[in-house]
């Protein structure tokens, strides 16, 4: 049997592919693309939440938010490392992000306008992310699968934390309730979009299914997200901003309204509310940090030289 056939057979048997194993070039490339996109999303995702660290309304929330953003940085780190096992360097990955060649999740191109957005982002965005990611804990590429196990555990904690922010607001003053509803209004549709274009417009799907990089279609994931989230909203007295939302007894699922795909593509193409800001922030941090990274490198080299001299 060819290498390729052996490889495919391993995947079918649910064996994990490891970094040193033979793999088709396309598998490698597709994984680099998806994993780096995922890593970039974690890193860019630090910005909209980081925006509220200095203004968090209580010390408890400030600490929790810091911890959450730190977790995201940690996720970025695992995922970049997993990506590096496929023979691409961190610098190359950053280069792809900064040049706009690599994508990241479009949701992070929306602004966090009020404190309630910290709740909505945790509840909805992390909620949608988990739905996307849980199946990846069993994906075929070992380093990715293991990273996802760790990521998912933390994400579900973040989601609960976000939902808890919303509970607190909806149990609060009328102003706080309004703030919570407003956040839901603004984040609902972008969260649905987060699960990707409709199946009709989605590319790469079949191949990705085979490699277990994708186990359900975008539309199925979206339906799952909606069916899971609507009761959570109802429970805390919030209204989903979709007049067409209705329980479909027959399907055992919610019917929902039309998604504004024009907005989705505008944001994906780089014209969302914060695309420019996010890239400015990332590129700015990278450029301002260059002398620091250079210094760390130079220092490490000096230390190495000294050690070698001592050893002689």
């Amino acid at each position: 049997r060819s290498l390729e056939e052996q490889f495919e057979a391993r995947i079918v048997r649910d064996e994990k592919i490891e970094a040193k194993d033979w793999m088709p070039e396309k598998y490698r490339k597709t994984h680099i693309r998806q994993m780096s996109q995922h890593a970039h999303s974690e890193i860019v995702g630090m910005l909209p939440e980081g925006n509220w660290i200095t203004r968090a309304p209580s010390l408890r929330r400030k600490v929790a938010l810091l911890a959450k953003v730190q977790d995201e940085a940690g996720h970025g780190l695992y995922l970049y490392s997993a990506c590096e096992t496929l023979g691409i360097s961190r610098d190359e990955l950053y280069e792809q992000l900064h040049s706009g060649k690599a994508k990241y999740s479009s949701i992070f191109n929306y602004p966090t306008v009020t404190w309630a957005d910290m709740g909505a982002v945790g509840w909805l965005v992390d909620g949608a992310a988990i739905i996307n990611q849980v199946p990846l804990c069993n994906t075929s590429y070992g380093p990715y699968a293991r990273a996802m196990v760790r990521v998912c555990k933390e994400e579900s904690f973040h989601q609960r934390q976000g939902y808890e922010i919303m509970i607190k607001l909806t149990n609060g003053t009328p102003e706080q309730k309004e703030m919570a509803q407003d956040a839901l209004n603004r984040w609902w549709w972008p969260s649905l979009m987060m699960l990707g274009p409709t199946d009709a417009e989605s590319i790469h799907t079949e191949q990705s299914m085979k490699w277990k990089l994708k186990r359900k279609s975008n539309d199925d994931l979206r339906q799952q997200f909606i069916d899971q989230t609507v009761p959570q909203a109802e429970l805390i007295g919030l209204t989903i901003p979709d007049p067409d939302l209705k329980w479909n007894e027959e399907r055992g699922s919610y019917d929902f309204g039309e998604i504004d795909w024009e907005e989705f593509w505008q944001v994906v193409k780089g014209h969302g509310p914060c695309n420019k800001e996010r890239m400015k922030a990332r590129v700015g941090a990278w450029e301002r940090g260059e002398w620091v990274r250079d210094a760390a490198m130079a220092h490490a080299e000096k230390q190495q030289e000294r050690k070698e001299k001592q050893a002689v």
Partner: protein, 251 residues
Amino acid sequence: MKNDNLYKYILGIADNSLILGQRLGELCGHGPSLETDIACTNLSLDLLGQVRSYYQYAAKIAGDGRSEDDIAMLRKERDYLNVLLVEQPNTDFAYCMGRQFLFDVYHFMFLNELQKSTDFTLSAIAIKSIKEVSYHQRFSSDWIKRLGDGTEESHLKMQTAIDDLWTYTDELFHQTDADKAMVTEGIGVDITKLKSAYYQKVSDILEEATLKVPESKYFQKGGKQGIHTEHMGFLLAELQYMQRAYPNMEW
């Protein structure tokens, strides 16, 4: 307040960590590398965690119904008692690390003594915090060495930062009336006794980092009397925004 001196003493400690934690929080997502971002967030987390214990204790002592958040976020600028050092802005990474280092060395020595406080709560907080702060000190000292003994550019930047921040170090050892009262009661740390060890330790590390120990004999003060630099008001405007705009709510 019955325990006015103790209350003020706690605020003096807590405000340092609160304001430094807030400054570190600003950096989040904007640092020179993912690893430093994680580490700086960690410093901020540790400090703010410690801060909560202090303010909860202060709230108990005040006993006027104010919560930790009320005390942390609803005072006027003139009532914040942190040293000027910790409120200095994130000018660049050399300033961030310089500020951190100059504070960490003090903070470690301070907590080391505070462990022996006859006040059980303060001693417990100190015992819990000192492990974290020992790591902080290692982290910032390492960066001083890396940047000092890195490239020519980093050396220059690190030296500039140390020269500028040096003027705020003396204040660390100024005793307020509350400090003196607490020392007498065996609760507080006699910071005047830490001064020479502090400058020795700082100088050792600066020298290891190939940096010059500043010679200036002019120092700034004021923070411990609530007279802050012009940076402070803007920091507080952010820190307090939600508590001010939405008073008396739970979050």
